[in-house]
Amino acid sequence: MSFAERMLKIDRRIIFVVIGLCTLLPLLYPVGLPIKISSEVRGVYDYIEQMPERSVFLLSIDFDPASKPELYPQAVAILRHAFRKNLRVVTMTLWVSGTGMADQLVTQVAQEMGKERGKDYTFLGWSPGGTAVIINLGQDLYNTFPSDYAGKTTKGQPVLDGVQSLRDVSYAVSLAAGNPGVEAWYVFGKDKYKFELGGGCTGVIAPGLYPLLRSGQINGLIGGLRGAAEYEILIGQKGRAVAGMDAQSATHLAIIVLVALCNIFYFSMRRQARRQGERS
C-alpha cells in the first residue's frame, strides 16, 4: 500500500483529534487575529446607532439552545447596544423550544445594563402560529400577547407606550436559526407593515439570506459567530464570539490543508494507477 493510499485510508479519529486541537489550543492561548468589519454587520449596527432614544426596537429571538453558540453572542451584543442607546426593547420568540433560554438571555443582559422590566424592556414570550403571529402583531400587539412572559398584562406597560402594532416599531431584528425567522419576518412583517428589518442568523442559513440583503429587503445581516464577533468589536465589548475567532481561523486553516492534502493524495494515486495501466 502506497503512502498516498495509506493517508487516504487514515483513521478518521486522527482527523477529529487534529480538528479538536486546532480548536482547543487557540481557545487556551489566544493570538488575537485581526477582525475586519463587514458592511452587512455594520448595516445593523449603524441603524441602531442612529435611532433616537426611547425608539421602539423589536428583537425576535428565533432560535433554541441547539444554535446557542452562534446566536447567543449576537443577541447579547445587540441587546447591550440597544440598552446602551436607551431604546425601548421589545423581545419575543417564534420558537417554543427557545422560550426559557430567551427569557434568561434578555433578563441577564438587562440586569447587567441596569434596565427595568416593563419600563425599559419586555419579553413577550412565545405565541402559537409561527408566521401567523407576525401577521397578528401587525394588526394588534395586545391581542397577540395579552400578557408578557412573566404573566403581566402587556397593555399599560411603559415600554409599550404608543405601540399598537408592528407599524409602531422603529426597527426589528430577527436572530434566526431557520424557519420561522428572518424570511418570515420580511414576508409577513416588513413587506406588509413597512418597518425597517435587520437579520442575524447561523452560518448554515446565511447564504440563503444574502439575496434579501442585496435587494435591500433587509438592511443588514449578522452571519454566524463571525458576525457576532464583528458586532462585539463594533460595540467595543469583546465577548465569547471574539474569543472564538482564533479557533475558527485555525480550524478553517486545518480544513483547507486537509482538503488540499486529500486532493494531492487522490491525484497521486490516480497517476500511479495510470502508470501501472500503461506498464501492463
Binding site: E70, P128, A132, P207, G224, L225
Partner: protein, 240 residues
C-alpha cells in the same frame, strides 16, 4: 450536567457507545417534554382556558372546535370531520402565504436582478462602475445577469446542450458550484462554531471555582469507554 452531557455526546467521535445513546435520548426526551409543557401552558391554559373562564370570551370556542376536529383522525368513523379543519388551515395558509411570497421572493428578486447596466452620472454622462463591493455596480449587475441566465439555461432541458449551448450550460454549472461551495463553507463555519461553543464551556467548567467538573467527568467518560471497549472484546461475536 452540561459538562457531562457534552462529554457523553463527544464520546461518539471515538465510537458509538451507551454514554452517547444516554445523552441523545435525554436530549430528545427533554426537548419534546419541554415543547409539550410550554405549548400546553401557553395555548390551552393562557390562550383558551383562562380567557373563556375568567373573561367570558366564548367566541374562542369556534377555533377550539375547528382545531378539535383534527383529533377525529383517531376515530375512523368520524375521521372525515378532520377534513374541515385541514381545509381551513390549508385555505387560510395558502391565502396568506401565496401573495406575500410572490411579492417578496419573486417580484422583489426579479426587480433586483434586472438592474440597469450603465449608470447616468450627474452632468448627463453614462458611467460603468467596477466596484465589486457595491452590489449595484455595473460589473456586479453583469455577473448576476450571466449567472441567472446561464443557470436557468442549464435547467432548460428542451434544447440539447451542444455547441454554444454547452458553453452557456457549463457556465451555469460553474455558478452553481460556486454557490454550493459558499453554502458548504458557511456550513463548515457553523459546525466549527458549535464545537467552539462546547469547548469554551468545557474550558470554563474546568476552573477550580466550579470544582473542575470537566476534568473529573472527562476521566469518568474515558474510563467508561475503556471499560466498555474491554467488555465488548471479551464477548463472543454476535450469532445473528
Amino acid at each position: 450536567m452540561a459538562t457531562g452531557l457534552t462529554l457523553c455526546i463527544l464520546s461518539f467521535l471515538y465510537k458509538d457507545n451507551p454514554l452517547f445513546k444516554l445523552a441523545e435520548h435525554l436530549y430528545v426526551g427533554v426537548s419534546v417534554g419541554y415543547t409539550i409543557v410550554k405549548a400546553y401552558d401557553t395555548v390551552l391554559v393562557h390562550l383558551i382556558f383562562k380567557p373563556i373562564v375568567e373573561n367570558g370570551e366564548w367566541v374562542l370556542l369556534v377555533p377550539v372546535t375547528i382545531g378539535s376536529l383534527m383529533l377525529t383522525r383517531y376515530v375512523p368513523k368520524a375521521s372525515w370531520l378532520s377534513r374541515y379543519a385541514f381545509a381551513f388551515i390549508v385555505g387560510v395558509g395558502s391565502g396568506l402565504a401565496i401573495p406575500r411570497t410572490i411579492s417578496s421572493f419573486i417580484l422583489k428578486q426579479i426587480e433586483d436582478t434586472v438592474r440597469p447596466l450603465l449608470m447616468l452620472a450627474p452632468g448627463g454622462d453614462v458611467t460603468f462602475t467596477w466596484d465589486l463591493h457595491n452590489p449595484a455596480s455595473s460589473l456586479n449587475v453583469i455577473i448576476i445577469l450571466i449567472g441567472v441566465t446561464s443557470v436557468l439555461f442549464y435547467f432548460f432541458f428542451s434544447v440539447e446542450h451542444t455547441g454554444p449551448g454547452r458553453v452557456v450550460a457549463r457556465t451555469g454549472v460553474m455558478f452553481l458550484m460556486i454557490s454550493f461551495g459558499a453554502a458548504f463553507g458557511y456550513t463548515v463555519m457553523a459546525r466549527m462554531s458549535l464545537l467552539i461553543g462546547r469547548l469554551t464551556d468545557l474550558i470554563e467548567f474546568s476552573d477550580a471555582s466550579y470544582g473542575r467538573p470537566t476534568v473529573w467527568l472527562a476521566l469518568v467518560t474515558i474510563g467508561t469507554l475503556i471499560f466498555l471497549s474491554r467488555r465488548t472484546q471479551g464477548e463472543p461475536p454476535d450469532q445473528h
